[in-house]
Amino acid sequence: MHFPENLQYSESHEWVSFSEDKTALVGLTDYAQHELGDLVFVTLPEEGDGVTAGDPFGEVESVKAVSEVLSPVTGVVLEINVALQDSPASINESPYEAWFVRVGEITGKVRLMNASEYEAFVEGK
């Protein structure tokens, strides 16, 4: 399992990538996609929607079950990755390229871990 050094990680298994323009990309970690299994459907918010740190902003569904995706940050959705809706399997194939949303106007975040902290966190599962 792979956890890139340049990302931060939430306890609910989302990754966040903060950029210099003060926006953040959010996706699901390698651990999450592995636990969820083959994903076949994704529900995303709309551009302009507000998201709250620790609250769900979308859903992913495997053939067996549905799971919520929680936002690691509080802010506004600037962009959604519409390509994800046509290829949910890309989350399984390359979880760190398959971002869900770009969030801006960030005013808060959940507790985040770096790669080695997150790796230790999931090993304890």
């Binding site: 299994g37 083959d38 076949v40 529900t43 569904e61 053939v63 549905v66």
Partner: protein, 360 residues
């Protein structure tokens, strides 16, 4: 405490993700994942551990009379070496279970029941036995493997010392498969051609490994409960606890062909006759905009009319489907209904069942 099947160690060796199911620890999937396992069965072959299923024997001169009385199908005229599917009804016409009956001889039958209903079924049948007939639960002395898919016959044939059963729903009572004594049945729960092999628990690991080794060049992979469910759903086969329940009759579930109203009296007959043509019906839905699972409310022109009994994303067809119980008046294919999933209404068009059927 869940029990292990004789193949538990084999599942761990192959990376099976173990979950509790119907009192047993079984793999929901292997490292390959549900989608690849599902597709393997549609295009090549998959091997399943179904040792959790319950097996009873019914023996004695009165065995046929008991089957005729307790089950809805007609077992007269059945030959040795044939298997027959049947619902079993309660007095209200609701479904106690659905099961397979194997005829070994006119005085010796085997019943294969759902794992989750094993104790209930045993008590139900035992309490209604009459005449010269003995019921025995042999589940703990029987393991069951299902080899399913278009390559199943080619994999199994060279391993068996006797000809394989040719027709669907027939079986060979005693065959030797690579040194293992088995009952080989041409049956399954996937919508594909295939076989179910019953053997002694101690022989199951050897048979499992043999089939996987022999089928390697033909694309066989081990498959878990996840694929078993998506395969049966795609083929629109009912699952007890979903399409069939104590409060759903087999006729409502679209299984009227297995309810022989013209045979002598059987348990549930009076209630089914009184109900007449059922007012609700099992339909297939093609769902767009999400995935509907079981127990989602179904709407017609904004009014609640029924509920889904099962639903998933079909790996082979590539879209979401569900089965639902709705009033007959709104059950014709082409009609567009809605399914509510976590507060959202999804478009659900009624389509003919089954969703998938193999090319013969």
């Amino acid at each position: 405490m869940e029990r292990k099947t004789p193949l538990y160690e084999c599942h761990l060796e192959r990376g099976g993700k173990i979950v509790p199911f119907a009192g047993y620890l079984l793999p929901v999937q292997y490292e390959t994942g549900v989608i690849k396992e599902h597709l393997a069965v549609r295009t090549a072959c998959g091997l399943f551990d179904v040792s959790h299923m319950g097996e009873f024997t019914l023996r004695g001169k009165g065995a046929l009379d008991v089957l005729q009385r307790l089950l809805t199908n007609d077992f007269r005229g059945m030959e040795d070496g044939h298997a027959r599917y049947s619902p079993m009804c309660n007095e209200s016409g609701g479904t106690v279970d659905d099961l397979l009956v194997y005829r070994f001889s006119g005085e010796h039958y085997m019943l294969v029941v759902n794992a989750s209903n094993r104790d209930k079924d045993f008590a139900w049948i035992r309490d209604r036995l009459f005449g010269d007939c003995v019921l025995e639960d042999i589940s703990d002395t029987v393991a069951q493997l299902a080899l399913q898919g278009p390559e199943a016959e080619a994999i199994l044939k060279p391993l068996a010392d006797s000809p394989l059963p040719e027709k669907y729903y027939t079986f060979t009572l005693k065959a030797d498969v690579g040194g293992v004594s088995c009952l080989v049945s041409r049956t399954g729960y996937t919508g594909e051609d295939g076989f179910e092999l019953y053997c002694a628990p101690g022989d199951a690991p050897a048979l499992w490994n043999l089939l996987l080794r022999a089928g390697e060049g033909r694309g066989v992979i081990p498959c878990g409960l996840g694929a078993r469910d998506t395969l049966r759903l795609e083929a629109a086969m009912p699952l007890y606890g979903h399409e069939l329940r104590e409060d759903i009759t087999p006729r409502e579930a679209g299984l009227g062909i297995f309810v022989k109203m013209d045979k002598p009296d059987f348990v549930g007959r009076a209630a089914l006759e009184k109900a007449g043509i059922p007012s609700r019906k099992r339909v297939g839905l093609r769902v767009t905009g999400g995935i509907a699972r079981e127990n989602c409310p179904v709407f017609s022109d904004g009014a609640p009319v029924g509920f889904t009994t099962s639903g998933t994303h079909c790996p082979y067809l590539g879209y979401a489907v569900a089965m639902a119980l709705v009033p007959r008046a709104v059950s014709e294919p082409g009609r567009v209904l809605e399914v509510e999933v976590r507060g959202r209404r999804l478009r659900a068009e009624i389509v003919p069942l089954p969703f998938y059927s193999r090319k013969k």
